[in-house]
Symmetry: C2
Subunit: 346 residues, 2 copies
């Protein structure tokens, strides 16, 4: 068990290092006002903390930097004690959501923007999983004799559209019939049940009422399949470049490559989905490449159901306290905002 003093020293080192990105020496700590023990004492404590694995030295005669284990302790134990309410932040976050943005996508984008702007880290926002939304209306608008647009509107106000070629042997009235049937049958059923519904009754109905159904089905099935994949929004990648840990172009490249491959980010974020606030430090992360990168995630909910998550990516040397405050606030605000947006059944 760590003594009060040891905790103090660990905290001091993390705080210092987070700010300066330089190893922290015993003297610099002993100079603090509220420290009444000497540098030598601190050195002894440091040595102990190092033995326990909370600190490291970049080289044998340098100051200490926190190890991952050190950060972990800091985040888990030292942060909880601190006051979690810097009022300035809260209000400014809440303002964002009060300005009643009414498109889901706009809200997500804005969230990402604010998140990265406030923290100077990279923000990732995973759009809400739409699997529970229901079809509100399906609409076909012909553009010409050969092409038409299919428009899917969900009860959340999410709109998807796809241009498609009208199959040769399909008349306009056929098309209308086709759409009507789909509309009647699928309206108000959750998108995730479509596949199942489709293959049963509906298929029978269609086959019965629409000529050349088989052929048409092939051509159109793609157009009417909603993409359920949630979108990912980034913001503030440039912030990363300002950090000294990215002074090497090669690393920047790796990082950007990793971010560009959204699949990876997606699965990482998704994995955190049921866990509320999460702090992954350094190699705890899946992405082994980045030893000195941490990631904080938080989830947001609609009507109490967790539907997505937002994240912050920064150096392990991160302002955890501030970042956690901000991301928590954002997640809360996002939840409120989305719940309001989705609640049409008033």
């Amino acid at each position: 068990m760590l003594s009060r003093r040891q905790l103090y020293i660990l905290q001091a080192i993390v705080d210092d290092y987070v700010q300066t990105a330089e190893p922290v020496g015993s003297r610099s700590i002993s100079k603090r006002e509220d420290v009444d023990f000497s540098a030598a004492t601190i050195r002894n404590e440091m040595a102990d903390l190092e033995d326990m694995g909370f600190l490291m030295k970049p080289h044998s005669s340098s100051g200490r930097i926190p190890s991952h284990k050190g950060y972990r302790l800091y985040v888990d134990q030292l942060l909880n004690e601190t006051d979690n309410n810097h009022l300035g932040l809260i209000t400014s976050v809440q303002q964002l959501f009060d300005s009643r943005v009414s498109e889901v996508e706009a809200v997500m984008r804005k969230t990402a923007a604010v998140l990265s702007e406030m923290t100077n880290y990279v923000s990732v926002v995973l759009g809400p999983a739409m699997s529970n939304t229901k079809l509100k209306q399906l609409q076909i608008i012909p553009l010409s004799t050969t092409q038409a647009v299919a428009i899917l509107v969900t009860d959340s106000g999410h709109v998807e559209n796809r241009t498609f070629d009208i199959p040769h042997n399909m008349s306009l009235s056929d098309l209308e019939k086709f759409v009507n049937i789909l509309n009647e049958q699928l309206a108000d059923s959750p998108i995730k049940q479509w596949e199942a519904l489709m293959s049963n009754e509906i298929e029978r109905l269609l086959r019965q009422h629409v000529d050349h159904y088989e052929k048409i089905h092939q051509d159109l099935s793609a157009a009417f399949k909603p993409k359920v994949n949630e979108q990912i929004f980034y913001n503030g990648m440039l912030n990363l470049l300002a950090q000294p840990e990215f002074k090497d172009v090669e690393k920047v490249k790796q990082m950007l490559e990793w971010l560009e491959d959204k699949k990876e980010v997606y699965s990482l974020l998704n994995a955190m989905n049921s866990q509320g606030l999460t702090v992954k430090i350094g190699e705890e992360n899946r992405f082994e490449l980045f030893d000195d990168i941490s990631m904080i995630t938080a989830t947001y909910a609609i009507d109490g159901d967790t539907v997505g998550s937002i994240g912050l990516i920064g150096p392990t040397r991160m302002q955890y306290e501030r970042a956690i405050q901000i991301i928590t606030q954002m997640a809360d605000g996002l939840s409120t905002s989305l719940t309001r947006l989705y609640r049409h059944d008033a």
Copy 2:
């Protein structure tokens, strides 16, 4: 006027330097098979070329590199002479457009992706100016008693949607009337004329048939105003990082910042809009920051009318010949593909 031999040497230097990014010395040129004059001769010629401003030395005892003027000459005179048809390229570019992608946005994205993949430079694609497209249909789909989605479909198959709050004092039947009037009046008129139309007859009609028009107008005008601003698609920013001219993080940062501010890129691309193929070398560019960056742009057209442009951004030390070939092909393919997409009046 430059002699044949001087042109040859200039070309050799550009070609070499483009590949290696290292200053080119006289000996390395004299070693070429088709060179039957000595290094000393080349040195003399080089000195002359330098006097004329086509070459530079990074320092007094190094090999030569092309100056902007040198690149300019290379692009303007030396490239035109060469065979412009490496068959391999052309077919592979054309294939892309044969695969009948049917969403405009998808085509633009794909264009950007292919462009950067083939060249290893950054590609910029400016979406087609939609000012000539016409409204096909305007549709309102209520989500609840308080919210609805407005959907605009243009004759090009472009769909835009916006969620909005239904004004308190507006009944559903009012809303329907409202939409019907707009539909009747605006259908088949080009989007750019909307503003004008709106403020005249239509406003009168609306005022006549819809209660509380003034108040409603305020709330809804935003929802029905199409954003005409063309989209910008990038691709291949990572390619840049591989270039030695970007080994400095600071510069990478500047570049990404510049690209992120789409306004600038937009205006630059837009300025090129009426000029077909364009090659801007180094400081000829508006963006003075980047002395060693070149930009190639080409325009594409729908039915013969230029509607947008695509660009490639790379180091001044660029494979101009190849890049020009590729971008030209892409622009052509894009024109064909879009013309086909927009031509519904068959």
